[in-house]
């Protein structure tokens, strides 16, 4: 059963934003339980590619399969364009967690309510059960005493950890991280990276867009370097960081290492 080892499969994906060809013939795979890191300059398409995986961005051709099911829109065998109806898309999305650069916590709700919201609304859980799960997840990320605080009272690192707990509460099969530490003060980056590292060690399948090379080197099973919408390099972190094939890769790494 070779197929079930693959959590995400991106097949010949192209995306245009108006006239700009932002993703060109992207082919990639992410195996279950592994961490994949996407690196590249801004505008390279790495964030766009990540956002296509839960259909926050649409693709123009090709298809993206998550756990064997295509998500969003795709062409079937006959070349006919198929699209997920909203209900099915919502269900698929509820199994994919996403953590954003700017946390995006619901500012009108407490920390606990933030984590509980999807459980009660999407999974239609009873409040008590949702509360239990939420508290457990907040303990998991190290914030058991902040449950009744509002997001605005928390530091950036704490807010991001709440965001991680919020996604984890839904027990996703896949977690997508869009530059999770880029908006944080340097001294807060560590606590968030630690939380993500623990998650990786527990076996979560993850795709992380990041500039944190130390983290990538330690945890990533696979690294992809994107440039101008194309996957220029693909391999283990050691291969890419120590032996990049292209000049462009060397130039980029030179700037951030």
């Amino acid at each position: 059963m070779e197929e079930s080892k693959i959590m995400v499969k991106v097949e010949r994906v192209n995306k245009f934003y108006k006239k700009l060809h932002v993703l060109r013939d992207i082919d990639m795979e992410v195996r279950r339980g592994e961490v994949t890191v996407l690196i590249g300059a801004s505008g390279s398409g790495k964030t766009t590619l990540l956002r296509c995986m839960n259909h926050l961005e649409t693709i123009n051709s090709g298809r993206i399969l998550v756990d064997g099911e295509p998500i969003g829109c795709w062409a079937n065998e006959k070349g006919v364009l198929c699209k997920d109806p909203e209900r099915i898309l919502n269900r698929k999305r509820s199994q994919i967690g996403m953590v954003f650069q700017r946390f995006n916590l619901f500012s009108h709700l407490t920390v606990l309510e933030n984590v509980m919201l999807a459980l009660t609304t999407v999974k239609k859980m009873q409040k008590e059960e949702a509360r239990e799960i939420a508290i457990q997840q907040l303990k998991h990320v190290g914030l058991p005493d902040k449950i009744d605080s509002y997001p605005s009272r928390l530091s950036g690192g704490q807010q991001q950890r709440v965001a991680i707990a919020r996604s984890l509460a839904m027990q996703p099969k896949l977690m997508l991280f869009d530059e999770p530490t880029s908006a944080l003060d340097p001294e807060l980056v560590g606590e968030v990276l630690e939380t993500i590292t623990n998650l990786a060690k527990e076996g979560m399948t993850m795709i992380v867009v990041t500039h944190e090379m130390g983290f990538a080197r330690e945890l990533a099973h696979q690294m992809l370097f994107l440039h101008d919408g194309v996957i220029l390099e693909q391999g283990t972190p050691e291969e890419i960081l120590n032996n990049p094939k292209f000049e462009r890769t060397k130039a980029f790494l030179g700037k951030i290492l």
């Binding site: 919502n90 999305r93 509820s94 954003f100 995006n104």
Partner: protein
């Protein structure tokens, strides 16, 4: 009577405003275009003209006999709906798109996101302009006196005509409106502080 008319018209206006606001932010032109037309019609004509038009034309068009009070409430409600539609639209569009994306990526449907995330947040932004509109509505309600509805202004006119004491009566009337509106403003300020306590 003034308060009754204002409250009733405000209620109608709120409902219409919510619908219009939601229609205006829709991607589909079939929803947004009629909503925009509605707003333009009711904002670009004087309230007095709208009041008189509704009073005379609705019975003609629909064959429904209508008391002055009812038609005034409807007219003021429709008018308020136009202004409040814009208020709702602006409030909805002011909500951080990132939060909406977070909601959708958790698996919330479009409606669930609207109900649990967008609207509660939009409400906080909308409160000041909503209060503005309520104040305007209360003041515009004085126009119903033109159609003979026995509101504050009408009574004032009656008394002034009978007693010939125009200055005293109308100063008193203005004072009454002023007191109503000051109380309203204080309530609004209190509500706003309570709603934004989390910031």
């Amino acid at each position: 009577m003034t308060l009754l008319v204002t409250a009733a018209a405000l209620a109608i206006g709120l409902l219409i405003g919510l619908v219009i606001g939601l229609l205006k932010v829709s991607q589909r032109r079939i929803f947004s275009v009629p909503a925009t037309s509605y707003v333009e019609v009711f904002r670009n004509t004087p309230e007095l003209v709208q009041l008189i038009w509704v009073y005379y034309c609705i019975p003609l068009l629909f064959g429904l006999p209508m008391a002055a009070t009812t038609s005034c409430i409807i007219a003021l409600g429709l008018n308020a709906g136009g202004y409040l539609g814009e208020v709702f639209r602006a409030g909805i569009q002011a909500v951080d798109k990132g939060l909406i994306e977070a909601g959708r990526s958790l698996g919330l449907s479009h409606f669930q996101t609207m109900r649990k995330i967008t609207l509660p947040l939009a409400l906080r932004t909308m409160l000041p302009p909503f209060v503005n509109q309520s104040i305007a509505l209360l003041k515009n309600s004085s126009l119903v006196s033109v159609l003979g509805v026995a509101d504050l202004t009408f009574q004032a006119q009656v008394i002034a005509t009978n007693t010939f004491r125009v200055i005293e009566i109308f100063t008193g009337t203005a004072a009454c409106y002023f007191i109503f509106l000051t109380i309203l403003s204080y309530l609004a300020r209190f509500l706003e502080k309570w709603l934004t306590a989390y910031r």
